[in-house]
Symmetry: C2
Subunit: 111 residues, 2 copies
Amino acid sequence: MLHDPPQLDLMFQALADPARRQMVERLSRGPASVSQLAEPLAMSLSAVVQHLAVLETSGLVSTEKLGRVRTCRIEPNALRAAEHWINERRLAWERRLDRLGDFLTDINDQT
Amino acid sequence: MLHDPPQLDLMFQALADPARRQMVERLSRGPASVSQLAEPLAMSLSAVVQHLAVLETSGLVSTEKLGRVRTCRIEPNALRAAEHWINERRLAWERRLDRLGDFLTDINDQT
DNA sequence: AAAATAGTTAAGTGATCACTTCAGTATTCC
DNA sequence: GGAATACTGAAGTGATCACTTAACTATTTT
């Protein structure tokens, strides 16, 4: 449990960029082509393709090319992995606070 | 809803580094000093302090100095914000799949 | 077949990253 | 007071990032 998969590095790194988050947000509403992903973003198509590559190697997004159109979709399991890591840490902390609270009420009851 | 706070950039970026995740993991088990955070990491104290600064400006960790010791603790609300963003996107996608499933069974029933 | 569409690939650039070393500054211990 | 402890801050370095432009390929459309 000391080292978690490098996949987590890639996922959090992928989500760190606002353009990439916007792409994920768009894809959470349904599949889209590369140009559709690019449309709201103020950058070249080339840049978008590069962001897409980051999302794809992180596992957050998968794509499939049909004819000249590449269709992108979200990979919910990957999203779940990132969510899970955060959740575990938050819960560990909160459980700790609970135990601490119990302890404090216990020694308070002893007066 | 088009642009989310730059805080999210900072949080995901902070979590993208394995050393920083290890620090968060350590802190999820309880507060720690800078040297305690540094102990399992194969890098200089200076590097750890720099990582700590990243975690602190991201809002994920808060610190307090008493005497010559700086004590660090996790900030669960910040963790919750990152968790929430991911959760929303995953749910949006899954709800979409559900609706799609309903639609497909509907047109299937019409045969 | 020519033109438009959709994406791909490579090279370059300036900015940011993840460190390092080294030289400090407070505290606390002896 | 002097030594050890616990950081702190600045400067430097090589690697990676987020783009850009430009040239190219493959697929439709007309």
